[in-house]
């Protein structure tokens, strides 16, 4: 087994990224990995369905966090997908024989160590495979507190799960590190700029701040369109995405706030601590929304909101996040100019 430090994390992909980079001597915390990967996002896509309901996601596409972080830090990575199942397992074995830990995309439904109530057909879970003993693999799954073992057959099934976004045996590993001292300031600035662009400037109504507003608008009509029962399960689906492992949501806002705090240190700009506080407020609002929605679909407690009231909460969140990212965008732009002047 490779001497791999397993650190539990809040989110699978940022966790695997930070664990893999730490293994190669680049000290990076999980919030930093999320921030550099511009992992804060929102999308509501009625044209993609999961369990028959529109996909609401709080993250960019699986794999993007890892590829962005490594690109920003000047690290060469290799990614492979396989058509042949056996070939994918052999390739994994070859890597492990060279003491290279590999990130693997897995379907959650087939993961034997996952609690039963969390096992849905969700195919974008990241784990790091760090060793093989007696035909079983040792994996470091960031959302599980300890290292786990998984049999050859089970791992193969996970890597070839089917459904929305099939993983197709995808695996990735770090090939070469160009420099041990990357330009952290530049990386932070670039990633914040990208986050601002994704949250504010995608000209489609499904993504970023506009996506939150779209969800709010659609939510008002759920009850008429679907009837109260299906409206409730739609709402439950959104809340699951909001708080679930792998998708984050409110949790992502807090993590991004933690990243902004770190960024304040890296850039020597105390103003980012203020943005962190604003982001925390946005996260608290998401939690509040989740709690109100939870009461709604459980039909419990005295203060049950209507769908209109919930949508109103979402609109407020959208306004708050728009405000944060507009401020961030301005600061980052100015920072670049100042840096150019001083050089």
């Amino acid at each position: 087994m490779i001497a791999f430090e397993h650190k539990p994390a809040a989110h699978c992909e940022s966790g695997v990224t930070s664990n893999l980079l730490n293994f190669y001597g680049i000290k990076i915390s999980e919030p930093m990995a999320l921030g550099l990967g511009s992992g804060l996002f929102f999308s509501h896509m009625p044209f993609i369905t999961l369990h028959g309901m529109a996909v609401t996601s709080f993250r960019p596409l699986p794999g993007q966090i890892f590829s962005r972080v490594t690109r920003r830090l000047g690290i060469k990575v290799k990614t492979r997908r396989f058509l042949n199942k056996e070939a994918s397992m052999q390739a994994l074995d070859r890597l492990l024989a060279q003491d290279i830990p590999a990130g693997v995309l897995a379907g959650v439904y087939h993961l034997p160590y996952f609690p039963k109530e969390y096992r849905f057909h969700f195919n974008a879970h990241n784990i790091a495979v760090i060793g093989k003993e007696n035909n079983a693999y040792i994996v470091s799954d960031p959302v599980i507190l300890q290292k786990e073992t998984i049999s050859y057959e089970a791992l193969k099934r996970c890597r070839y799960a089917k459904g929305t976004y099939p993983p197709c045996g995808k695996m990735y590993w770090i090939d070469r590190i160009k420099t041990k001292n990357p330009d952290w300031q530049r990386a932070v600035i670039k990633s914040i700029k990208l986050s601002c662009r994704w949250m504010l400037a995608i000209p489609l109504p499904f993504f970023g701040v506009r996506g939150i507003r779209l969800l709010a608008k659609r939510m008002c009509r759920w009850e008429q369109r679907f009837g109260s029962h299906r409206a409730a399960s739609n709402l439950a689906q959104v809340i699951r995405m909001l708080e679930e492992i792998g998708t984050g949501g409110a949790g992502f806002r807090f993590m991004y706030a933690a990243f902004l705090q770190e960024a304040a240190g890296v850039l020597h700009q105390p103003v980012f601590r203020e943005y962190a506080m604003r982001m925390t407020e946005a996260g608290d609002r998401w939690r509040e929304f989740a709690a109100a929605a939870g009461r709604k679909f459980k039909n419990r407690g005295e203060a049950i909101c209507s769908y209109d009231e919930l949508a109103d909460k979402l609109m407020k969140i959208a306004d708050a996040e728009e405000d944060i990212f507009r401020r961030l965008r301005k600061t980052v732009k100015n920072y670049k100019n100042e840096r150019a002047k001083s050089e």
């Binding site: 689906q237 809340i239 708080e243 807090f254």
Partner: protein, 131 residues
Amino acid sequence: MKIEETLQEEQSPGSTQPRNIYYALDEQGNYRQVLSTGCKAKQDALSLIWECISKEAETTRQEVLAGKKSPLAYHIKMRLLDIPMLAAYTGLPKKTIKKHMDAKAFLQLDAATIKQYADAMHITEEELKNV
């Protein structure tokens, strides 16, 4: 979110309830990792979804027992599968699988096809035939 605000439920020893990492503020206003038992709304959402699934599965089971649907229909409900996904797992055409949801068509299936379905769902042929 402050550290005190994270949910810390008492857990019985040996409980399999997972604990998640959250980021929360300490007294100095710095972010820190905390272990928490999660949040109430999420657990409610999960239990609602499982309630829906088991309710649907039970309805299908009754239909199977009444001879209206094949056991296959029940097993895919139980495993949260749908026809396109089962088609991807087995390699059979969607139309064929749809046909096999019918009790009569299922009875006429040959052993090889039954095995294909059973392997895809990781159960034995006997389990597949029973509900």
